[in-house]
Structure formats: structure tokens, C-alpha cells
């Protein structure tokens, strides 16, 4: 009979190995000017796209010598995890794709404020009024549609049209994801609970659920469904690649400060319980600096830069031409949206 102890010890040792096995980036300290941060390390809980944050981490590390360990997950998964872990959380920085996850952690009182210099790099519309975290990138809500099944003349004027009976069976969305829930939280903020409940009831009657925004776009492209409510960058990324899931699809930006033109702000915050506050603040400062935002302009993520006056990737329509509604990212309530969606039978 094998005694159990060696197995458990091995498991414990390997658990440490495997949890660090994620994407710890090995770095060499820069040979340039000495930096007091060099040789230290931070842990980033990353809900943003992995390639994007990896690029930020690599450049930051090359610049400052700080070792960045990334932990990847989704918005709600990581936000809930940070709240569960509380002060014992190893996270120094939290990066998300949408704002409601940031509000969840902020409302649990786990963020320490962001340095004033960093905040000064980000225009007021792309960061919360509470200054507990900052915006690092942005994405626009769009209606992706197939012109052969949905002619331009029949495009909806507003997001609210989609709950009308005339749209039954004609549009799709992925309600389980944090992306869609962020759009719903903007709708809640802009139009109030009663209007949102009514719209969600209409959505339940009309829409076709898919698993993931990519699946929605693929289905629209294939002609299975005339339209879908997603974020803009899926289309642009596919167009920059093989176009296999977007060749037959076009994007409709709602504009006119409609809830359908909601621009969702990706957030970055520093955890109060983090062990390396200086390096964490420096990382956020780097992301919102010109160099950091240039990664969005020149890279393949196709998301919008928000800070330091950096323009968007040339393939994208400029952010200020989108006429998005003004929404304070701090007011987006993910928890209430989820309970409204559960009550409507969408989740």
C-alpha cells in the first residue's frame, strides 16, 4: 500500500509550480538608468485579451525591470475571485474588459486610488468619477448585420427597437458574457429599471442566444440570423485576418447618444492589499502613457486607446465620431443587471 503523504506533498509542491506556471515572464533588468523598481515583481489579474496585456507586460518589463506575472480569466470570474480573496489576494493590479467588474471590486472597498499623474493622462469621460480606478481602453457596441438578409433601410434606429415584435427571430446576442451584461448595465443607467425590464422581456421573446460574441458574428456572416449585438473589435480583427467570419457582414454604429452606441471602458485598478504599490501604480501609468496606448494603435487588438491623446488604429472609425452616450463608468451596476436578466429568463 502506498502511503498517501508523498502524493500530497508532491501535489502541494506541484500546486505551487502549476499556479506559477501561468505566464510568468522572465525578465532581465535593464542596462539603462537604474530604477528603484527593478528586480521587484507584481501580479496582474488580467481579464483583458491575453495578447494585449502580454504586450503591455513585456514592454513594461523591458522598460523598468519589474517582473510581471499575469493571471488570466474573465471579468466576472476574476472580480468575484478578488472579492472572495479579500485582503489575502495576491493581486497587485486588476485589468478588465468592461467597467461593471471594476465597480464590483470598488464597492467591496478593495481598490486604493490611482496616482493623480496617471489620472491626468486619461480624459474624464473614460474614467470613473470616484477616481478609484482608471480607463485603459474602450470598445463600442455595434449591430453586426448581414446586408443580404437585412437591407440598410431596415436597420434599427435605436437599441430599444430590438425589443419590438417586428424584430422577433431576427437578432442574436450572447447574454452569458460580461460584454453583453456591460451593455445592459449602460441601458439600465441611461433608461432606468422599468424600461430595462420591458426591453429585456422583449429581448427574451425576440432574440436567439449564442455562446460568445464570435459565435454571434459567425452566425450573422453565415446568414443564419440577420443581425447581432456585439462589440466592434470582433469584426475588425476578423477583417484584418482571414475574413472567414465577417466577409458577408457589416457593422452598424447606432450613434446619436443612443444606448446602442455605448462605449464600454476597460478598467485598470490597483489593489489596496497589493504588496508592491509603487510598481503597480507604475504599470497603470505605463498603460495609460503614450507608449502603452500606442500598443492599442499599432497592435492587433482593434480596441480604442483612451489616454494620452493617442489616436485609434487607422482601420477604426475615430472614437469621437461615434457620438456615444455619456455614462459614468462608476455607476454601472453589474449585479443588478444580472438579477434583472435572471428574472427575465435570459440567464
Amino acid at each position: 500500500m502506498k502511503p498517501p503523504a508523498p502524493q500530497l506533498i508532491a501535489a502541494a509542491v506541484l500546486s505551487l509550480a502549476l499556479t506559477a506556471c501561468g505566464t510568468s515572464v522572465q525578465g532581465a533588468p535593464p542596462s539603462a538608468a537604474p530604477d528603484s523598481l527593478a528586480g521587484t515583481a507584481i501580479t496582474v489579474y488580467n481579464a483583458q485579451h491575453e495578447e494585449l496585456t502580454q504586450e503591455w507586460a513585456d514592454e513594461f518589463q523591458a522598460k523598468t525591470g519589474v517582473t510581471v506575472t499575469l493571471r488570466h480569466g474573465s471579468d466576472s470570474e476574476l472580480a468575484n475571485q478578488i472579492v472572495q480573496e479579500g485582503n489575502a489576494s495576491p493581486a497587485d493590479v486588476f485589468l478588465t474588459e468592461n467597467s461593471p467588474a471594476m465597480s464590483l471590486v470598488e464597492n467591496a472597498g478593495l481598490f486604493t486610488g490611482v496616482d493623480a499623474d496617471t489620472l491626468a493622462q486619461v480624459p474624464a469621460g473614460y474614467r470613473p468619477s470616484t477616481d478609484k480606478w482608471t480607463g485603459i481602453a474602450a470598445r463600442s457596441t455595434v449591430l453586426v448585420y448581414n446586408p443580404s438578409t437585412l437591407p440598410d433601410t431596415e436597420l434599427p434606429e435605436s437599441l430599444l427597437d430590438l425589443s419590438d415584435a417586428s424584430w422577433k427571430g431576427r437578432w442574436a446576442a450572447s447574454p452569458g458574457g460580461a460584454d453583453f451584461q456591460a451593455i445592459m448595465s449602460a441601458l439600465l443607467q441611461l433608461k432606468g429599471t422599468a424600461a430595462t425590464e420591458e426591453w429585456l422581456a422583449g429581448m427574451k421573446a425576440n432574440y436567439t442566444p449564442y455562446q460568445g460574441n464570435s459565435a454571434v458574428m459567425r452566425a450573422v456572416n453565415a446568414g443564419e440570423i440577420p443581425a447581432g449585438l456585439i462589440y466592434h473589435y470582433y469584426w475588425f480583427i476578423d477583417q484584418a485576418g482571414t475574413k472567414e467570419n465577417s466577409a458577408n457582414a457589416k457593422l452598424h454604429f447606432f450613434g446619436k447618444k443612443d444606448p446602442g452606441a455605448f462605449v464600454s471602458v476597460s478598467g485598470g485598478g490597483v489593489l489596496a492589499a497589493g504588496k508592491n504599490q509603487a510598481a503597480a501604480q507604475a504599470f497603470l501609468a505605463f498603460i495609460t502613457s503614450k507608449d502603452g496606448q500606442d500598443v492599442l494603435r499599432t497592435g492587433t487588438s482593434m480596441e480604442y486607446p483612451v489616454a494620452s491623446g493617442v489616436p485609434a488604429n487607422p482601420a477604426l472609425p475615430a472614437l469621437d465620431t461615434l457620438v456615444a452616450p455619456s455614462v459614468d463608468p462608476a455607476t454601472l451596476n453589474g449585479t443588478e443587471v444580472i438579477s434583472l436578466m435572471t428574472a427575465a429568463g435570459l440567464l
Binding site: 500500500m1 500546486s15 499556479t19 501561468g22 451584461q181 455562446q211 464570435s214 443564419e224 428574472a343 429568463g345
Partner: protein, 489 residues
């Protein structure tokens, strides 16, 4: 084994009926209930039909190339259900709903009925069938009144396994957009973590499982069939298919084409596009999967060994209760076990949350029966007399076990380890929920690629998953062969 689920139940009770009731009794749950119940009610008979028909054709008819078919009909088990879904969505993108779910289930899970049916058919005494023929029953009546009742145990057992798989399956149904309780729990988990809504759905799913187990247990019946009397069983007369041979063979070819051919062809197609093998995380995924498989197998064998020992060497109420608890716990869907473990670790043992230990515990709970069955049969092959002989020669009891029993048990322990390790390699749901952030296994990498509709990226992982399943299917096939031979005097 049952502690995590029990704890989850306690937490659910604590949450309070007034919070849970509106979450359980709502239209969405009714939708999911309808889908899930229909899936099981229609899916189990379909798979039983296909499985038993295949087994009968291979064992009791003169189908040409029987040897090839007997292996081929078990081979769809090597294609995980979610890979099958992924392939079929690539071919028929509009596949979905209950029809799609039943189609994929039949393709993927029929071997689970086919294997026990083949074993049972092999062990039947053809004298009963001959006697029935001589008393004037036609071939169909012989099949219905003589053969089927003897297959009852195999069908009930196989049907139960299929039913539990249907309740637990997440990946396959999610890819074809068929909403069952398990897919809805996953969506809730992604949105609310281990919130009350997820637990509410989990309670209903657990109840469905228990109902299935109870129905199977109570209708199984107590009749056992055994040969009495001397002599050896004759070789069964095989029904001549004659003109039905060609259509039957075509149907079988069609089934294999759908279950095995389509996934392999689709995979081959995706693999030739671009350079899918050069993916950043593939080496790490392979390594992590191998490590988790080996560790998980070790932990499971260690946990199963005492129970196996007790049930073979010192059978008693205790050993039966232990075994029953283990089987019951593993019957619950992976998502319930994972959700329960999340609840337990977050509330009671936060330091274990998001660590490999929790994942390994989940694997141990889920795969214990597989290890138990193999270890038990291995122990049964090492009768006590060998140990007693060694002790009579002067070796201490402990050393006699080490030097005599353990080596004899080694092949079945290895088979147990292999089954568990390979099951872990294909496991998706619990790994998604419990593994530390950034853990990448073949299944999770496949999942994230197919969810981003990056079909070419998903293809190499799918191929690797199939390759890791093949040895497991081979072992299972050899095991059923062996159990069927035990019935022969």
C-alpha cells in the same frame, strides 16, 4: 466523497427558501427542465437501441467482417462528445436544439450501451434460445422474450451511464446551443460565481440525477440469470442476415461515418489550414494535461485502494457503504462536484481555493469508480491463498502483501491508473471551474479556441484529445471482453 455535495446542500438550506424559491420556480427553469428531461427520456432509448442493435449484429448474426465491426462499433468512444459537436457544427452550422442534441448523444454515447451488451450477449447460454426455437417461437420472439430479459442488467446499467452522461454534458450541448441545466449552471457561474442562482439550478440537477438513479435501481429487478447443470455452453447459432446483409452493413457504415468519419475528416480539413501546430500554449497545455493526469491518477488510486481492499478482502456493511457513497458521488455531474468544491473551499478552506489540490480532489471524486472497478478485479485475481502461502514460508503479513499481492495486482492497477489519467485528460467542466487561473489543458485550450470560433486553432487539440482517448477505449474493450469470459465455465 459526499462531503462537498452535502456541504453544498447545507449552504443551499442556509440561503433560505425565500431566496431559492423564486430562482428555482421560474419559467427559465421550466424551459431547462423540459429540455433536460426530454433529452434523457428520448436519448437513453435511442442509444440503447443503437447499442443493443450493434451488439446483436456482432454477436448473434452472420454479419461479414464481424471482428472488425466489434472493435469499430466501440471506437466512437474515442471521440469526446464536445469534439463531435465541434465537427458537426463545422459541417452543419445550423445543427442545434433537441434534435441536434439527440443526434450528437446517440453518436457519442451508444458505445456505452454497446460494450456491456456485447459482454452480456457473449455470456448468454444459447441453449435457452435453442429451446425457445424448438418450442416454436420465431426469431424476433426469441429475441424479445429470451434474449432481451437476459440483457436487462446490461441495458439498465448502460442506460444509466448514458443518462448520467447526458445530464452532465456541458461542452457538446453548449457548442450546438442546446440549453440544459448544466449549460445554464455554467453560464450562471460565469456571471455570478457560486451565487444562489447557480446553486438553485444545481439543486434541481442533483435531484434529476437522484431520480434517475432511483428509477434505475428500483426497476432493475432482482432476477439474475445463471447457468446450472453440467456441460459446456454451445456456440450460439447466428441468424442469417441474407438479403439484409447489405442494407445492414450500409447502416453501420453510415453510423461510423457520422460518429467517427465526420470528426476525423473535419479535423483533417482544419489541420491543413495555416500552421495550427505552432500555437503558443500548446507545449504547456500538453505538459499540464500530462501532469494533472498522472497526479490525479495517483491520488485516485491511493484513495480507491483502501475501499477496494475492504470490499474484496473484508466485505462488510462498511465497505458496501463506502463503495455506494463513492459511486453516488461520482454519479453527480462534474459541474455539481466542482460547484460544491468551490463553495466548500471558499467558505471553509480559502487557502485551497484556486489550487491544484481542489482540482485533484474533484478528479478523485469523479473517477473513483473507474479505479475501484479495476483495482477490485485485480485484487480478486490475487487470492488470499497466495499471501497465506507466503506467510507460511515465514514472511510477515505486510511484506507478503508487498511482494506477492502487489505485483499480481500491478497490471490492473496500471489499467486503473490509465483509465483515470485518460479520463482526466478529456475532462472539461470541472477543470474550467476549479483549476487555478492560467492553467491550460488540452481540453480547456480546445474549449477557448472553439468558443472564439477559431476552428483551426482548436483542431490540433481535438486530435490530441482523440489520441489520448484511444488507449482508454482499448482498455475498456479488453475489460469487457474479460468480464464476458468470466461467465464461461
Amino acid at each position: 466523497m459526499l462531503v462537498p455535495v452535502g456541504f453544498s446542500a447545507v449552504v443551499a438550506v442556509q440561503t433560505g427558501w425565500d431566496v431559492l424559491a423564486p430562482l428555482i420556480f421560474r419559467p427559465r427553469v421550466a424551459e431547462l427542465l423540459l429540455n433536460t428531461v426530454l433529452l434523457v427520456l428520448l436519448g437513453v432509448p435511442l442509444t440503447v437501441l443503437v447499442g443493443v442493435a450493434g451488439a446483436w449484429l456482432v454477436e448473434r448474426s452472420d454479419l461479414p467482417w464481424r471482428r472488425v465491426w466489434s472493435v469499430a462499433l466501440a471506437s466512437p468512444l474515442a471521440v469526446p462528445a464536445f469534439v463531435s459537436s465541434y465537427a458537426w457544427v463545422g459541417v452543419v452550422p445550423s445543427i442545434g436544439g433537441l434534435g441536434g442534441g439527440l443526434f450528437i448523444s446517440t453518436l457519442a454515447y451508444s458505445p456505452l450501451v454497446y460494450l456491456p451488451a456485447v459482454a452480456a450477449l457473449r455470456g448468454l447460454d444459447p441453449a435457452l434460445e435453442d429451446a425457445a426455437r424448438s418450442l416454436g417461437l420465431g426469431p424476433w420472439a426469441v429475441f424479445g422474450r429470451v434474449v432481451m430479459p437476459q440483457l436487462r442488467l446490461a441495458i439498465w446499467g448502460g442506460g444509466l451511464v448514458v443518462g448520467l452522461h447526458l445530464l452532465a454534458e456541458y461542452g457538446a450541448f453548449s457548442l450546438i446551443r442546446f440549453n440544459t441545466f448544466t449549460t445554464a449552471i455554467m453560464v450562471q457561474f460565469q456571471s455570478t460565481f457560486a451565487g444562489p442562482a447557480a446553486n438553485a439550478l444545481g439543486i434541481v440537477l442533483t435531484l434529476l440525477c437522484l431520480v434517475l438513479l432511483a428509477v434505475e435501481g428500483s426497476t432493475r429487478g432482482n432476477l439474475r440469470y445463471a447457468r446450472i447443470g453440467s456441460g459446456a455452453a454451445t456456440i450460439p447459432t447466428r441468424t442469417r442476415l441474407a438479403t439484409a446483409t447489405l442494407p445492414t452493413t450500409l447502416v453501420l457504415v453510415g453510423y461510423l461515418a457520422a460518429a467517427l468519419g465526420v470528426p476525423l475528416v473535419v479535423l483533417a480539413g482544419w489541420l491543413t489550414v495555416g500552421d495550427p501546430w505552432a500555437q503558443r500554449w500548446m507545449p504547456q497545455a500538453i505538459l499540464t494535461t500530462a501532469l494533472l493526469g498522472l497526479l490525479g491518477a495517483a491520488v485516485t488510486i491511493v484513495l480507491a485502494a483502501p475501499t477496494a481492499w475492504l470490499s474484496v478482502r473484508r466485505p462488510s456493511r462498511v465497505s458496501r457503504v463506502l463503495e455506494g457513497a463513492g459511486v453516488l458521488a461520482s454519479s453527480l455531474p462534474g459541474i455539481i462536484i466542482a460547484l460544491a468544491l468551490v463553495t466548500v473551499t471558499v467558505r471553509l478552506a480559502p487557502s485551497l481555493y484556486q489550487t491544484v489540490v481542489t482540482v485533484l480532489v474533484a478528479y478523485a471524486i469523479m473517477f473513483l469508480p473507474r479505479a475501484l472497478v479495476a483495482l477490485r478485479s485485480g485484487l480478486a485475481q490475487a487470492p488470499l491463498v497466495l499471501e497465506e502461502a507466503a506467510q507460511a514460508l515465514g514472511v510477515s503479513p505486510a511484506r507478503s502483501r508487498l511482494r506477492v499481492t502487489l505485483p499480481v495486482m500491478a497490471p490492473s492497477a496500471a489499467a486503473a491508473a490509465a483509465l483515470v489519467a485518460l479520463g482526466i485528460a478529456n475532462e472539461l467542466t470541472a477543470t474550467l471551474l476549479l483549476a487555478p487561473n492560467g492553467t491550460r489543458t488540452l481540453a480547456t485550450q480546445f474549449w477557448s479556441a472553439s468558443n472564439s470560433v477559431a476552428y483551426t486553432d482548436a483542431a490540433p487539440y481535438a486530435l490530441l484529445l482523440i489520441l489520448t482517448s484511444i488507449p482508454a477505449v482499448a482498455i475498456l474493450f479488453a475489460q469487457t471482453r474479460r468480464t464476458s469470459q468470466k461467465g464461461k465455465p
